[in-house]
């Protein structure tokens, strides 16, 4: 049976390193001949892995976008692929880089220039999830039925995602990373703000200029490892902890196994530390993690990728394929950075008009800046079983509240979890022939997520990237 090949890129701009992968996906209809088609990615091949370079900065607060772009285009040349051929993929800005002044500008600008459809992403939770996917931990959780935590420790942050049966059940992010204290010629060159904060209660905190061999450096590392262990065993409950970034752990089941990925993990599983050209606490942190008693009680599993987990995840694991029976106005695609709002429909009362009206009003309040109504996707997560009449009522409600504001640039965007997109799209078309509509299904999102919808592929499906766009707050 026919297959279809598309190219994908992944770019990770981290606290200390930047890297890129180019891969190809093979798409195929996997449904039986007597079924409605179901297009899935059946094969992913990494075509090119870039070297890991140091993230270039103009100064402490500004990322050198030009240098990053140069690097990307150089990699495309090496991979012998033109940016115009890239039909999906993601660029992610992670760790402390996401806190820089021009972080948002950098990812958006690069996503526009570095590929035909390359998605800008950011957000500590997403980092953890993408790293876990790239490290193969999500797949391991599917295969083993164990609750596995993937701890991606980079230069600035540790992003944890916990998974069971192939689904993410919680995330957490900590200020734990290899570059939190940097050395130069055996002397402390810099200490990152979260560590300074951690030492506030110390009578004799470390200072820039102290020796790298200072006993207090080891103490700091012990604290870092301690918090990782506490978090994994569900003992981290202090919302104000200086090393916690964002929310407390969100999973509610005990973790059984752990996997480390990220730059620091390279020192855990492989003796590659000598390759790490950085003079910082990374290596010692890895050794301390290995020796920690409480951590030893978990089952340790190996990742498929360490330092490249996040970039592999961004390049090969972010793209989803929509259902095959969808209704899309091809001219309105691609769509980028569309926020999602969940429209809840009560299974029993089926008050469509009221539900859509409230959802539209709430979404407007949430996403629109002043009078500027910005587009958003209306998401129907738990549609009850619908009859033809129900669909008509629902579509009339959608048109009533959204048709007047739609235009070629801003189509009506509907995302449905269950398989209803085609009939809903067609019904909207039957009622109103001119309104542009993007109606896709079999995509799972949540309020607060953003989606990017790529152009229609020959098999009639669209690639979709679900993401967050939250930049770390300092």
């Amino acid at each position: 049976m026919k297959t279809e090949k598309i190219y994908s890129a992944g770019i990770d701009i981290g606290t200390s390193t930047t890297k890129m992968v180019v891969s190809s996906f093979l798409l195929k209809n996997v449904a039986g001949v007597t079924h409605v088609p179901r297009i899935e990615i059946i094969e992913k091949t990494v075509l090119h892995q870039s070297p890991i370079i140091k993230t270039p900065f103009i100064n402490k607060e500004i990322i050198d976008m030009e240098k990053i772009e140069q690097f990307i285009f150089q990699q495309y040349q090496l991979a012998q692929i033109s940016p115009a051929d890239i039909s999906t993929g993601a660029i992610i800005i992670t760790g402390e880089s996401a806190t820089k002044e021009n972080a948002s500008e950098v990812v958006h600008a690069i996503s526009d220039s570095a590929g035909h459809f390359l998605v800008a992403t950011a957000g500590p939770d997403l980092e953890g999830i993408i790293a876990a996917k790239g490290a193969g931990t999500l797949q391991q959780s599917k295969n083993t039925a164990k609750i596995i935590a993937n701890i991606d420790i980079g230069g600035g942050t540790a992003n944890i995602a916990v998974m069971q049966f192939g689904e993410v059940i919680g995330t957490c992010t900590l200020h734990v990373g290899g570059r939190l204290i940097e050395f130069n010629n055996g002397i402390i060159q810099s200490i990152s703000p979260p560590i300074m904060k951690l030492m506030e209660k110390w009578s004799n905190p470390l200072n820039v200029g102290d020796s790298a061999e200072d006993i207090r450096v080891t103490q700091i590392i012990q604290e870092l490892v301690e918090i990782v262990a506490k978090m994994l065993s569900g003992q981290l409950t202090d919302e104000q902890h200086p090393l916690l970034l964002g929310h407390l752990p969100t999973w509610d089941k005990p973790v059984e196994a752990i996997v480390f990925s990220g730059g620091v993990a390279a020192c855990i599983y492989e003796d590659e530390c000598t390759n790490r050209q950085y003079d910082d606490i990374g290596e010692k942190l890895a050794k301390s993690l290995l020796q920690h008693e409480q951590l030893k009680s978990f089952l340790w599993l190996k990742p498929e990728e360490t330092a490249r987990a996040t970039v592999t995840g961004a390049g090969t694991q972010t793209t989803e394929i929509s259902g095959a029976t969808i209704q899309v106005d091809a001219e309105a695609l691609p769509l980028k950075n569309v926020p999602v709002f969940n429209c809840h429909i009560d299974t029993h009362s089926k008050e469509f008009d009221y539900a859509v009206k409230t959802a539209v009003a709430q979404a407007d309040a949430l996403f629109s800046i002043q009078e500027n109504r910005s587009p958003f996707a209306l998401y129907f997560s738990q549609l009850p079983y619908l009859s033809f009449r129900d669909v008509h009522t629902l579509c009339e409600a959608i048109l009533k509240h959204l048709a007047t504001r739609s235009s070629k640039e801003i189509p009506i965007i509907i995302v449905i979890q269950s398989d209803y997109a085609k009939v809903i799209g067609q019904t909207i078309q039957a009622i109103n022939q001119t309104v542009p509509i993007i109606c896709i299904d079999q995509i799972k999102v949540e309020t607060g997520d953003y989606i990017d919808v790529g152009e229609v592929l020959p098999s009639g499906v669209v690639p979709v990237v679900v993401k967050t766009l939250a930049f770390h707050s300092k």
């Binding site: 049966f165 079983y385 085609k422 009939v423 067609q426 019904t427």
Partner: protein, 344 residues
């Protein structure tokens, strides 16, 4: 719904067993049965199970006639109950807190991984066992599903549905269900009256002719045809594809479309027909599609979208999808293997 029914039946069976048991044994075991009876009386009281209670009374009365000791047991039972009622009235709180215990199967204790696996299949996995046999619940569920399958085959599509769809009805050369099952060849031929009726009622040379038949599952048509038909009509309407005069065939087989295609010179036929029921669903419908079906059309030219039901391909989505399939067939002027070849 099924679950509830199964547990009700089980309750009945259990009580019957209880009654028979008491019949054989002497006086002593009346005590545990007494408990059971108490729940039975409460059971009678509940309005929800009123119908059921009637049956229960009926069945006890039949046993009453043939089974002397049982009457006594039943009678002493109720008087016992009254007594306990009086004694209980001394203590109000005890009385009010008497729980109305409805029969319930023990909770399924399946591991999380089995639960996760169950999400991916409607098959009967992780149901446990009782010795070498399935548990009562599993067994009853199996019987229920089997009965539903049999009902689907022998059932009829209601007149009301056909009126709602505004379709007329024709017959094949088959006379009854037995013949339908044993003589597939007769289900592939229209009766003489049917031919006349179709020729007088139907638009000739339609682009798309839609036909409906109960086939092997009347419940499939009953449950799904309306949504599929309406969605398909709408889809073809959006695509500006003209539809002929839809009609219903009682006891038709798939290849009957050849004769109809010949008769009406239809370009494409979409044939909605009830599938042979299985134990997962007795309500599954198929849509067979063929470009210019004529007498002698080979099976390779037919296409099918199967598994259309609430738990499979949603009927509405199937209807919407069929419209685009018809569009493609009209574009390539081929269906089945021929279409695949032309598509390249």
């Amino acid at each position: 719904m099924n679950e509830q029914l199964v547990s009700m039946i089980t309750q009945l069976v259990m009580e019957q067993i209880g009654n028979k048991g008491s019949d054989k044994s002497s006086h002593e075991p009346t005590v545990p049965i007494e408990d059971k009876k108490e729940t039975l009386i409460k059971f009678h009281d509940t309005v929800v199970n009123a119908n059921y209670a009637a049956e229960e009374v009926a069945s006890s009365s039949t046993t009453e006639q043939s089974n002397e000791p049982l009457i006594k047991l039943y009678n002493t039972e109720s008087s016992n109950h009254e007594q306990s009622y009086y004694s209980a009235s001394n203590d109000e709180s005890t009385y009010t807190s008497v729980p109305i215990t409805e029969f319930k199967f023990e909770e399924d204790e399946v591991s999380e991984s089995v639960q996760a696996a169950k999400k991916h299949t409607p098959a009967r996995i992780g149901v446990g066992r009782a010795g070498t046999r399935p548990k009562t619940k599993t067994w009853l569920k199996f019987r229920l599903d089997h009965a539903a399958a049999v009902d689907a085959v022998y059932g009829e599509v209601t007149e009301g549905l056909l009126q709602k769809l505004d379709v007329f009805q024709v017959t094949t050369k088959v006379t009854d269900k037995e013949e339908y099952i044993t003589r597939p060849d007769l289900g592939r031929r229209l009766s003489d009256e049917a031919k006349t009726l179709i020729q007088s009622e139907c638009k000739k040379n339609p682009k798309v002719q839609i036909i409906i038949s109960n086939g092997l599952s009347a419940s499939a048509i009953e449950e799904n045809v309306q949504d599929v038909y309406l969605a398909l009509q709408q889809s073809l309407g959006n695509l500006n594809i003209e539809i002929g005069t839809t009609f219903y065939i009682d006891k038709g087989r798939v290849a009957l479309m050849d004769e109809i295609g010949e008769l009406l010179q239809a370009e494409v036929i979409v044939y909605l027909i009830g599938e042979r029921p299985g134990l997962v669903s007795a309500e599954s419908m198929s849509a067979y599609i063929c470009y210019q079906p004529r007498i002698g059309t080979v099976e390779a030219d037919r296409m099918v979208v199967s598994n259309i039901h609430k738990g499979g391909i949603p009927p509405l989505e199937a209807g919407a999808y069929l419209g685009t399939v018809v569009q493609k067939i009209l574009h390539y002027k081929a269906s089945g293997v021929g279409l695949v070849a032309k598509e390249g």
